[in-house]
């Protein structure tokens, strides 16, 4: 059997569920609930897979992706490859409410966010620096490069394209601590 209202979220991020639930219980909208729940995980860096200080890219930078969708109006706001702004879901909501667009990306999305009043700050932490330096120390393994030299399964970049393209078995690097 089922009952309304309902909040459901991926992974055992209990505080996010509770934050969203309390919004619904106090008469907030389903949009506010989703935003509050996701924002809680951004602040708490859930599992290191949400928010600042996690999942550094090949250059050591943490970038953020977020999306919010209103099922009544089919409006969507999303940001991708967001830099220097911690509250990614808040920026996604601003894209939905302050533009006619759906998705803003990269440095320009960060400038939009700053213009809309979001605080610009470093998303790097000691933890993400450690993850990055350990990765560098292990010949940049794993990485997502192929058909380049030097051999990406042995070595860090910089990489150059190899003349011949070789079909390779896709490596499975995603796991509970590194995923979307």
């Amino acid at each position: 059997h089922a009952s309304l209202p309902l909040v459901i979220n991926t992974w055992p991020f209990k505080n996010a569920t509770a934050a969203a639930w309390s919004v619904l219980q106090s008469g907030g909208s389903m949009l506010d609930a989703v935003q509050e729940g996701c924002a809680r995980c951004e602040v708490e860096q859930c599992d290191g897979t949400v928010g600042y200080g996690g999942s550094p890219d090949e250059s050591g930078e943490t970038t953020l992706d977020a999306l919010i969708m209103n099922g009544d109006t089919m409006e969507v706001g999303a940001v991708a490859d967001l830099r220097r702004i911690k509250n990614a879901i808040g920026v996604a909501r601003a894209v939905m409410e302050r533009t006619d667009h759906t998705l803003l990306v990269g440095e320009s999305a960060s400038v939009f966010a700053e213009n809309m009043g979001f605080l610009a700050e470093d998303l790097t932490t000691n933890k993400s620096v450690n993850i990055f330096s350990q990765w560098l120390g292990s010949n940049c393994q794993p990485n997502y490069r192929k058909n380049v030299f030097p051999d990406p399964s042995q070595s860090c970049g910089p990489y150059k394209p190899r003349a011949m393209l070789k079909e390779t078995e896709r490596a499975q690097h995603a796991n509970a601590h590194s995923h979307d």
Partner: protein, 140 residues
């Protein structure tokens, strides 16, 4: 990554995601989370869905959109989630991924793909049956 669906008292649906993506990604790489229909999808006339996992693969199959459209045709949330996962599994048998689904009457479900080191997916639920959030799990 967090993917979330909220359904209010009157069955209005919203969905969202937030993530810092895959570790050691190529700079500029974006996963499925911010892609509408992939990371999440919501339609108050059918339901909502949100996905997590290997976004480079999952985004190609728009699992959240597919799950909501299946619920629109009457599939229950668990069945819709399973079908969205199996669509990807046909091409990438060992991909790492999971999805949650909810319809406008408050029914919900989840599904995941069994891969090395991943045989059970945990998710959270809050509804009027329990004061505190409930930890749920589904076998992959």
């Amino acid at each position: 990554t967090i993917g979330m669906i909220a359904v209010d008292q009157d069955g209005h649906v919203a969905a969202g995601t937030s993530t810092n993506g895959m570790s050691h990604k190529v700079p500029g790489r974006v996963g499925d989370s911010p892609i509408v229909g992939a990371g999440a999808y919501a339609d108050s006339s059918a339901g909502g869905a949100a996905a997590t996992g290997d976004g480079d693969i999952m985004m190609r199959f728009l699992p959240s959109y597919l799950a909501v459209e299946l619920m629109r045709t009457g599939a229950d949330p668990s069945a819709a989630c399973k079908m969205a996962i199996s669509r990807i599994k046909r091409h990438y048998s060992e991909f790492f991924g999971a999805i949650i689904c909810a319809n406008t009457t408050g029914h919900y479900g989840a599904a995941c793909n069994k891969s090395p080191g991943f045989s059970q997916f945990h998710f959270m639920v809050s509804n009027s049956e329990s004061d505190a959030p409930l930890l749920k799990s589904v076998d992959c």
